[in-house]
Structure formats: structure tokens, C-alpha cells
């Protein structure tokens, strides 16, 4: 048909005199259903069957190739002659009409006088193109790997979805585990939840104990001037000091931030607690070295006694220890106050 007698002659010559003339366009339609044939002026004279499906509006036959396609790479090709100059190299094309699909292509001169064959492919745009143009697997040559690529894209997204769900579940499990945890992960001390349980247990038995609340002084400055890593390190050092200065039967917890608390079972001697508190303060005041940085902190302490003949709730004891603590802060930090009736809440705290 369009290829003219010249082509069949060439083919016949090659295959011998007996060979029947064959329709090259028909052959190309099967091997490369996304090919075009251009004449020597760069006009489209044949459209492969899959491209026929794409040109849903307007006929391409007789149109200039560059009128239908914008050549994005190599650039500066504006004429049929310049087009021949890019023969054999990879072309990045885009349909000028919406949906401006991107295509890859290669152009080769045909054996017929001045004609050129352009074979096109969707490349990576295939995923989108099959939807937009409603293509089926018969629109691709059986040797074309596009359908396999589409299969892989779907299979991969299904596998990714499974992986995403697993991660979500793990994330949920991690949060649940953290919520159930009783340990402050930074210092290894108990956390507030654990401490609440312990304090309740002591209240139930009715045995006496002392509750010491410790709030670090100048900790914010460490964080602000040396960074959070320095702050974390200081908190770890603080917890070590507290462990060193207390008995194994005492329970320590970090309530959050720079707030710590210690429960001393069976301790009601104010002089003993005073000594412990002072030791903790002076130990904390030793400069802590973190990577060239000298971190200086101190601590304010508020302590309350729970005597065996007193009925109190944990909340009450926390509040009283808090009052004592703020009294320490108020009078200039780095000291310890014991709760007593008449200790007034600070207006400035």
C-alpha cells in the first residue's frame, strides 16, 4: 500500500525471485504497533494500530509529524530536514494535544525514497497511558515488556501496601508497649506510672516513708546553650548520683523533664534526710563535662513525711512535696525544705 512497489522489490530481491510481495506496513503493525511512517516532507503517511487508538480526535494522516508531537529532546528540531539529522538517537516526545502524553521514540530512514519510520513507546508513562487510552494487552506487541511492567507495578504496590500495614501495626504495638512501660528510657529510673503504683502500695500498708521531690536548677540553661544531647547526658548523670546517694530499698523515678522523686521507706528522721538531700545537692553541683562543654546545675528539694498514723492520698503528698519544693526555689534554689503546715503556696511559683 503506502510503502509502494519499491519496498516489496527490495524484499523480493533479498528473499529470492519466488518470494511473494509483502505488505511492510502490515508487518510493522504487528511488530511495532506504535510506529508511524513519514514521507520526505515529514508528513505522516501511516499510523500503527495502537497509535490509531491514541489519536482519539483528529486524523494524523497528512499532518506534519512535528505538528502532532513536540520534540523535547534533542531540542531545536523544527524541520523535516533537521528531523532526519536525529535519526537513530533516542527521542523524547510529547503529544501537543491533551492529555500531552510523554513518549519515547526512535526514527530511522526507510528504504523507500525519503520515507522515515518512527517507532514510539510510552516508556515510564505506560501506567498512566493504559488508563487514559483504555489500552489492552493486545495493543502491545507480544514481545513488548510493557504489560509485564504494568504487572510489576501493581504487584509492587500490593507488596508495599502489605509492608505499610505491617509497619503501622508495629508502630501501634510500640506505642502500646511504651504506654505500658514502667521505665524512663533515658535514665533507666522508674517513670511516673511505676512510681504511682509504688506509692499506692506504701500507702496501703500504712508504713511510714519520706517523699523527696527534686527539681534541677539551671537545667534549661544547659539545654539552651549546649543542646539536648548535653541535657540528656546531664539527666543520666543526675540519676547516677541519686542512685549512689540512696539505699537499694529507696525508689527513684523521673517524673518528666528535670523533675525527680525519691521514696525512702521507713525513714522519718529529719536529720538523716537533710544529710541525704544536702549530699545530693552538692554532688549535683560538681560541673558535668559533656564534649568540651562544662554543664553546671544544682537542685531544689522539697520533702514530705508520711507518718504511720497519718491518712493521706498520693495526690496530697505530691502537692505537699511540691509546696516545699517551691519554697526552696523561692528562697534562692540549691536548698531543701521540709513540708510543714502553714507552708503557703508561692504567688510567684
Amino acid at each position: 500500500m503506502i510503502w509502494g512497489a519499491g519496498m516489496t522489490d527490495i524484499l523480493s530481491d533479498r528473499t529470492g525471485a519466488e518470494a511473494t510481495p509483502c505488505d511492510m506496513a502490515a508487518i510493522f503493525d504487528v511488530l511495532c504497533p506504535m510506529h508511524l511512517v513519514l514521507n520526505k516532507t515529514g508528513h505522516i503517511i501511516h499510523v500503527g494500530p495502537t497509535l490509531e487508538k491514541i489519536r482519539h480526535k483528529g486524523d494524523w494522516l497528512g499532518k506534519r509529524f512535528l505538528e502532532i508531537f513536540a520534540l523535547k529532546r534533542p531540542r531545536s528540531v523544527n524541520s523535516a530536514k533537521e528531523l532526519m539529522g536525529v535519526a537513530g538517537s533516542k527521542l523524547h516526545l510529547q503529544l501537543r494535544d491533551p492529555p500531552t502524553t510523554n513518549l519515547k521514540g526512535v526514527l530511522v530512514p526507510s528504504c523507500v525514497d525519503g520515507q522515515q519510520i518512527v517507532n514510539l513507546s510510552f516508556g515510564i508513562s505506560a501506567v498512566e497511558a493504559v488508563q487514559v487510552y483504555d489500552l489492552t494487552s493486545t495493543d502491545f506487541a507480544p514481545t513488548d515488556l510493557t504489560v509485564e511492567m504494568l504487572y510489576l507495578v501493581e504487584a509492587k504496590s500490593a507488596a508495599m501496601e502489605a509492608s505499610r500495614k505491617l509497619n503501622q501495626r508495629l508502630q501501634g504495638a510500640m506505642i502500646a508497649a511504651e504506654e505500658q512501660a514502667f521505665t524512663d528510657t533515658l535514665t533507666g529510673l522508674k517513670n511516673r506510672r511505676a512510681f504511682d503504683v509504688i506509692i499506692e502500695r506504701h500507702l496501703e500498708t500504712g508504713s511510714p516513708f519520706a517523699l523527696m521531690q527534686i527539681d534541677l536548677d539551671f537545667f534549661k540553661m544547659v539545654n539552651d546553650s549546649h543542646g539536648h544531647a548535653a541535657g540528656d547526658y546531664v539527666l543520666q548523670m543526675v540519676s547516677r548520683i541519686m542512685i549512689a546517694e540512696t539505699r537499694v530499698t529507696d525508689t527513684m523515678a523521673r517524673l518528666g523533664g528535670d523533675e525527680f522523686v525519691i521514696l525512702f521507706p521507713d525513714l522519718s528522721d529529719i536529720a538523716v534526710l537533710k544529710r541525704i538531700g544536702n549530699r545530693i545537692i552538692s554532688q549535683l553541683e560538681y560541673p558535668i563535662l559533656f564534649q568540651e562543654n562544662v554543664c553546671r546545675i544544682s537542685a531544689s528539694i522539697g520533702t514530705v513525711f508520711k507518718t504511720s498514723n497519718r491518712l493521706a492520698t498520693a495526690k496530697q503528698l505530691y502537692e505537699e512535696a511540691d509546696l516545699a519544693l517551691y519554697a526552696s526555689k523561692r528562697v534562692g534554689r540549691a536548698r531543701q525544705t521540709f513540708y510543714h503546715e502553714g507552708l503557703m503556696p508561692s504567688s510567684g511559683a
Binding site: D134, S137, Y151, L152, E154, A159, A162, K165
Partner: protein, 195 residues
């Protein structure tokens, strides 16, 4: 057995019989948890255990249950993505049958540690085929009967399927194609649409 396989059994029981029956299966089988993770590998015994338990709890013979599992995998809305992946095997039911040999390889392309039963399709005549299925899980051939039956519907083909029994770990299915275009099959667009 891959978590995907075990999870498929779990989803089948939940979507077909309800979550309570599944919880019961997990409890009776005493597997120590109630959710299989899709990306973990489990012991093969666990898969056999859960299939036997499900059979007892649901009062259904194990092989019947496995056939229903195959049908479920290809036809339930929750497993639509799986049906689509299998439809990539070919445009017609016969092409699909011929793509079964490469199914394990296709699965491995997507999930590298997923090992599906080895499949071997033989064509005796243009309408008579046999499929050999080798798997460590007894009854896998029945799962493929369910899959083939659902896929035949999907393509609009009319087939007769028969389990010819097992020998040395290989189960054989006979497939007789009565009509390849018996009814209008379900549509398959290459491009996956969300609607």
C-alpha cells in the same frame, strides 16, 4: 509457609465466617497469636494446623474449605488486586492456563521470598489439560480448583474441573474446557482504576 499465605487463610475465614470464628480457630489451634503478619515466614506445620482447626471449628472438610479459599482469593472484593495480578497472565482463559507455569516466578518478582506451589500444565488436546501442583501443604490442588473455577468465570469460560488425587506430594487436576467464550467475562483494564 509465607505470611501472605497464612494471612490469606485468616482473611478468608474472617470475610466468610466472621472474626469471632477466626478468633476461635486461632485459640483452638493454640498458635499463640491471632493475626498472621503478611511479611513474616511461618513454619509449614502452623499452616497445616490452622487449616485442620478451621475445618473442625467450621464443620467443613479441609479440602472443601481449601477450594472455597481459592474461589475467595479470586472473587472477593477484598482480594481484587490478586485477581488483577492473575489476569495479567493472559487475554483468554487458555492463555491464562498457559501462564500458570510461570506463576511462582511472577509471584517471586513481587515478593522475593514468596514460594508458591510448583505448577506444571500439560495439554492433552486443545480442550483437555492437566495441572500438576506440588506443595508441602496437602490440599493445595483444591485451592487451585477454586482459583481455576473463579478465573474461568472471570474470563467467561465454561470448564469442568476434577481433582485426580495426590501421589508423592503432587496433586493433579484435570481441566476440560467446554467453551472458551461461554459468557461475557469480567472486564480487565490494564490500568488499575480506583473506582
Amino acid at each position: 509457609m509465607h505470611g501472605l499465605t497464612n494471612r490469606a487463610i485468616q482473611c478468608f475465614v474472617i470475610d466468610t465466617y466472621g472474626v469471632d470464628r477466626w478468633t476461635e480457630c486461632a485459640r483452638v489451634a493454640d498458635i499463640g497469636f491471632s493475626d498472621f503478619e503478611t511479611l513474616l515466614i511461618y513454619d509449614n506445620d502452623l499452616t497445616n494446623e490452622i487449616l485442620d482447626t478451621a475445618s473442625a471449628v467450621l464443620h467443613r472438610p479441609r479440602f472443601e474449605l481449601m477450594e472455597d479459599l481459592g474461589t475467595y482469593l479470586m472473587s472477593h472484593p477484598n482480594t481484587e488486586s490478586l485477581r488483577r495480578l492473575l489476569r495479567f497472565g493472559g487475554d483468554t482463559f487458555i492463555e491464562f492456563l498457559h501462564s500458570l507455569d510461570e506463576l511462582p516466578d511472577r509471584a517471586r518478582l513481587a515478593v522475593s521470598d514468596l514460594i508458591l506451589p510448583e505448577l506444571d500444565l500439560r495439554d492433552q488436546t486443545a480442550t483437555q489439560y492437566s495441572l500438576a501442583c506440588r506443595s508441602p501443604i496437602a490440599g493445595s490442588g483444591h485451592v487451585f480448583i477454586g482459583i481455576l473455577r473463579a478465573m474461568a468465570d472471570d474470563y467467561g469460560a465454561l470448564v469442568m474441573l476434577e481433582h485426580l488425587g495426590a501421589s508423592q506430594g503432587i496433586e493433579t487436576i484435570s481441566i476440560s474446557l467446554v467453551a472458551s467464550e461461554f459468557a461475557t467475562g469480567r472486564r480487565f483494564d490494564l490500568g488499575c482504576r480506583d473506582d
